[in-house]
Symmetry: none
Amino acid sequence: MKMKNTASDNLKTREKILSAAVDVFVKHGFNNTTIREICQEAGVNVAAVNYHFGGKDNLYVAVCKHVLGLSGNVELRGFDIDQTAPPEEQLRLFIRSLLFAILDHKKPSHEGRIMAWEMVHPTGSLDTIIKDMIRPRHEQLCAIVGALLGPGADVPLIKSTVFSIVGQCIHYRHGRPVITQLHPKQKYDPDAIEKLAEHITRFSLGGIKALAREIEE
Amino acid sequence: MKMKNTASDNLKTREKILSAAVDVFVKHGFNNTTIREICQEAGVNVAAVNYHFGGKDNLYVAVCKHVLGLSGNVELRGFDIDQTAPPEEQLRLFIRSLLFAILDHKKPSHEGRIMAWEMVHPTGSLDTIIKDMIRPRHEQLCAIVGALLGPGADVPLIKSTVFSIVGQCIHYRHGRPVITQLHPKQKYDPDAIEKLAEHITRFSLGGIKALAREIEE
Amino acid sequence: MKMKNTASDNLKTREKILSAAVDVFVKHGFNNTTIREICQEAGVNVAAVNYHFGGKDNLYVAVCKHVLGLSGNVELRGFDIDQTAPPEEQLRLFIRSLLFAILDHKKPSHEGRIMAWEMVHPTGSLDTIIKDMIRPRHEQLCAIVGALLGPGADVPLIKSTVFSIVGQCIHYRHGRPVITQLHPKQKYDPDAIEKLAEHITRFSLGGIKALAREIEE
Amino acid sequence: MKMKNTASDNLKTREKILSAAVDVFVKHGFNNTTIREICQEAGVNVAAVNYHFGGKDNLYVAVCKHVLGLSGNVELRGFDIDQTAPPEEQLRLFIRSLLFAILDHKKPSHEGRIMAWEMVHPTGSLDTIIKDMIRPRHEQLCAIVGALLGPGADVPLIKSTVFSIVGQCIHYRHGRPVITQLHPKQKYDPDAIEKLAEHITRFSLGGIKALAREIEE
DNA sequence: AATGAATGAGCCTTCATTCAT
DNA sequence: GATGAATGAAGGCTCATTCAT
């Protein structure tokens, strides 16, 4: 009565769930996601999630790992930035990369979205994962900012400055509903993101330079 | 069997609910809050919420209004800043006020927390309230930034700059769990907040000045 | 702070509830009526019902008594029909009276509606009331039918015939939603009811005559 | 702790619910039925109703369809009456069939009961079902009555007459509690129903003949 | 006499999970 | 490996009633 699943179906139930789960978790966050919606989108039975992943919590962990590329394959050592470029240019590239990662120019980068959710309601059991994802980029930016601030800058100052830069970027994701109200013309297409990146870069370079001058004095 | 209600109990069921609701909503957000938890914390019957507020949704609205001080009394025209001060000083005061409002120096100011929740999953029915709370401060900061950037600055530039400033501040609330991982020494007591405010102010003034110079050229 | 109720308000809270209760019970039946709706329509507090009547059940009993005129005053010996008229005419008048009572020519006669509700889901504690209301009319119609059928008719035959007549009438209340679907042109204004009465009378007289002939043979 | 389900249990949860639902809905009507009572009687979990039927409303629809035999199979073109018989005989058979359908000779035919409930508080979403069930029989009776009244009868007259006939029958269901009070000896076993059918047939034929005579004149 | 406030029981529904095949 | 069926625990809400004034 029931056809034997083909290899492409059979071996991929797990992947189908994972793929659907990424979409749904990214869209609704952990708490507001139901296992049923995921399974429906994946076209599989509700019980499959528990069978393959052992529950909603574990599925979420798997989704995070998957999305962060920690599923086994890629290296995730921060953005791909030419380290021989001058630090100003590196900062520009970092900001640009972060914004694009976070703001969905087309479809991809669920990464930023999951990150955003985790920031607001951390699932707790995921601290390590979060750290693994974010810390490399944090260190990367610390290096760039350190170079720009000069040797007189101590670690707390560097970190505060890094947070200032990251905060500007992240705000366009977290605060999007509010920004939409306050500045309806703000777009998020690739061109608009480029302009955003340029603005944040200029603003941040100005800020960094000012801090650097204060250190010297 | 039932004790005569004391004055502090009496007439205050509504307030007890409201107070408990603030705590719980702030802690868990709207979706993950149960009216049962609220009522248990308030020591009242579950049905009391519906009696006094007409349902979970309305209770949330009431909590927002309460927390925003829109419950009828106070003026909400932005932070209380001396408008005769030089704009640099006004900026410093604004940032300081925003950080304190957002970061809980002692107990109070659930305001920022609710704001944060709303930003991440807006309840929709509250757009107006959110706007009423945020817009005045937004306008206030726009004026300050406008003065600092000079007459050559157009509105989009001003707004982008405002978002850069606000983003830095807000990040310390939204990104707190992450920041705690990356910079464990970061504290949030009044002194630490003062230092944070000082840093963000310097950074931002540097950024603004850089932008202003670019305009002139 | 609160004005002293005027006599017309004061002495009439009970009546206001009763009046509102009649409307609401008639509209929704016992089970689907809420005490709140009644009190809202009456403009009184919910607790008033329990105070004045001791609960929903008792209020319903009171409503029935009120509606049936058993509240102390009127005589309820069946419809007001000229007993000197020929039985054919008496039958015509009875049917006409019943239809008007049951079908709301303008506003009044909640009586029929309550009767209808009771027939479908009897509240149990009200058997006697129902009987008191219905039996007199039943006896009245039995007499008329007995006269028409002639002395050869036994009681069961008379009763069956009475039920046949009453059933035709009642159907226009109970079956109204269905009738509306099957015969959308059917109206219920006084003229239409007159015609209905005429039809049922003719039909029933025909039926009775046929039965009478069978008895004779 | 949990017994292996027997074949009669297994695969039949849906049927058990349906069966219990028929009983309970028939007994209490839609509004006063709780899915808890149904599930308790069926010996299943409350959630099973939602799983199998998707909610109370849909369960009710399913019950109606089930009870009306519309569950997919049978033809429902009215009662099974020999159309070659003389119309008087057809009328007799129709009335007999309707009474048996409505009055439960032994257990079955919840049909009439559900119909009765629908007439008094229609669930609205069921208009079509109601129509599908009732209309065919209505048309069937219209044809019979039309033949008896002769070619001079217009549609409104036919329908009124049909309602007169149906009303007599239905009264024995709707008005049963009242009838029981007024005529305690009335029984509802098959024999009694046969006699009832005979009486209503004679009465109605008498009525129809009278109407037919009036048309001719 | 009358009321606003408060209560506890109960209802329908949803959800993550487990069971039996 | 995979699934349809079934479960129990909440969750938000409504209601008739009672409490204290």
